[in-house]
């Protein structure tokens, strides 16, 4: 009798299939946590959207309300990190990088509005958390190089920063409609500082390049707002 199996050792494909099935189980487990993180991110952005219609004086209400979902996102990421660290980091990271970026962006915006250091009284806007500070808040390592574990990458942080700039551009206009002529100036400076940073990066043709290419338009958008205000003599007099 001819033996077709002489060609192929059946163990070859059995082994490959077993590996695939194991990976699939990991993917399924990760999916649930990522969904949970997505939900928390939506909670954060729901609260944050109120910042566009809230005068600075009442921002503490928004910041307090954001506390819950921010905490939720931190917990989701801790769970994600625990599971993901059992696997090679870059094998599955495309599954969650988007959601992690959203969470980081949420935290960056929250901190920019003054949520991080708020202890009562007036809020102080304009703070940029470093990647290390974000890592501390999320309780995950950042920019890991030697150890294969879950961490926050530079790319993720930078992409979140682009999102923050986009959101602040929107906030600059909305602040004006609220009668706040001070924050556009603050935003103008902040956006320019961030843009200057991006300009020294040697970006290649990738997502980071694509997204950061839009920054110059955001800089211009905010400049236009400041220009409009200055034309009408609406800029607050220098009190420094």
């Amino acid at each position: 009798m001819a033996a077709p199996s002489g060609m192929i050792d059946p163990a070859v494909f059995e082994g490959l299939q077993a590996q695939v099935d194991k990976d699939r189980a990991v993917v399924d487990e990760l999916k649930d946590i990522i969904k949970e993180l997505e939900k928390n991110n939506r909670g954060i952005s729901f609260v944050h959207s109120r910042a566009h219609s809230t005068p600075v004086g009442q921002l503490p209400n928004v910041l307090n309300a954001a506390g819950g979902p921010v905490q939720g996102a931190i917990e989701s990421i801790s769970k994600l990190a625990a599971i993901a660290s059992k696997q090679p980091y870059y094998k599955f990271n495309s599954m969650w990088t988007r959601q992690v970026q959203d969470a980081v962006y949420g935290i960056l915006f929250w901190a920019w509005l003054g949520g991080k250091d708020y202890t009562g009284g007036e809020v102080k806007c304009g703070r940029l958390l470093t990647i290390e500070e974000v890592g501390e808040i999320l309780k995950v390592p950042v920019n890991t190089k030697d150890k294969d574990e879950f961490h926050l990458t530079i790319e993720e942080y930078l992409l979140s920063l682009v999102s923050l700039v986009e959101e602040l551009t929107r906030l600059a206009r909305n602040a004006v409609t609220l009668g706040d002529y001070e924050r556009p100036l603050l935003i103008n400076q902040f956006v320019k500082d961030v843009f200057a940073g991006f300009q020294i990066l040697n970006l290649k043709n990738d997502i980071l390049r694509k997204r950061s290419d839009g920054l110059k338009y955001r800089v211009k958008d905010v400049e236009d707002v400041v220009y409009d205000l200055s034309l009408r003599n609406l800029l607050p007099k220098k009190s420094e």
Partner: protein, 290 residues
């Protein structure tokens, strides 16, 4: 000052950006990452080109189940060396955390390498090279810096491509020798294969004899391979899409060999010297009228 547009004069601000030190660190890290990626992309391209040349030479082999003739070993030596050199050049870049990071950048080279490796392995032994064997081949070539990872995806997709080479090999051999290539049947291998068949749940596929001798030939091997590849279930994502696409091509390839073999069986004796079994659908009419 409000009236005059101050934007143009704000150059010193760039220097004063408080985030500069942070971005300088980022720049260094990103540059390293881009350099690694570029090295890997280039290596992948060179490995692909060298593997293609190896396959090209291998297609001139006519005998199955024995060491490839000297002209192949000699001609391909330089290409194997190129591949080895390329794997060595990137081995350090794909260790530890970065093992999977550049998977998309190296997969092209890895797949083509798998195609060349499995094709030669088949020609020489008439068996499919195992995943572990392939991995250890790459590991050996990668040198002291550590093995370049060969993912199971790379392996599978490379094997799919190898089916196409087997098709070409079968058709050419049929055209020149008038028979399906079959290797010498070895006693030991035959017995081992029989015992293997017991613990496989595909026994019903056993009558795989394409040839008259009852031994294994390329067609029976192709069918066995097709069966295994079709039973394989990818996990999803991009890999699943690739598998589906390649599975379709693979079926076409096996089909073509079966059709050619049919033609040879039916019309074999009438076959004019030098007639080539056609592998393209659209020309069948013509050939039949020949």
């Amino acid at each position: 000052m409000e009236g005059s547009k101050p934007q143009k004069r704000e150059k010193p601000e760039q220097v004063a950006s408080p985030f500069m030190p942070m971005f300088e660190t980022f720049r260094k890290e990103l540059d390293e990452h881009h350099d690694r990626r570029e090295r890997i992309i280039k290596a992948s391209r060179d490995i692909t080109a060298a593997s293609k040349k190896i396959i090209f030479t291998l297609q001139r082999v006519r005998k199955l189940g024995q060491a490839v003739p000297p002209f192949v070993t000699k001609g391909n030596g330089q290409y194997w060396e190129i591949i080895e050199k390329q794997y060595q050049s990137i081995a350090a870049d794909v260790q530890g955390l970065n093992a999977y990071r550049y998977g998309n950048n190296i997969t092209g080279g890895n797949q083509e390498f798998m195609e060349a490796l499995s094709f030669q392995h088949y020609l020489e032994t008439q068996t499919l090279v195992s995943y572990e064997e392939a991995q250890s081949r790459v590991a050996t070539m990668s040198g002291a810096a550590g093995a370049v990872p060969l993912s199971s995806e790379d392996y599978i997709l490379g094997i799919f491509d190898m089916v196409g080479e087997l098709m070409r090999f079968s058709i050419t051999t049929m055209a020149t020798n008038g028979e399906l290539p079959a290797g010498p049947v070895k006693k030991a291998e035959q017995e081992k294969a029989d015992s293997d068949a017991d613990n496989m749940d595909i026994d019903e596929q056993a009558p795989e004899t394409g040839g008259a001798e009852g031994g294994r030939n390329v067609l029976s091997d192709l069918r066995a391979l097709r069966l295994q590849l079709e039973m394989f279930e990818p996990a999803g994502g991009r890999f699943e899409k690739d598998v589906r696409k390649k599975a379709w091509v693979m079926r076409e390839c096996v089909d073509k060999v079966e059709k050619a073999w049919y033609g040879l069986t039916v019309r074999g004796t009438e076959r004019p010297k030098g007639w080539v079994p056609d592998v393209r659908e659209e020309r069948r009419e013509e050939i039949q009228g020949y």
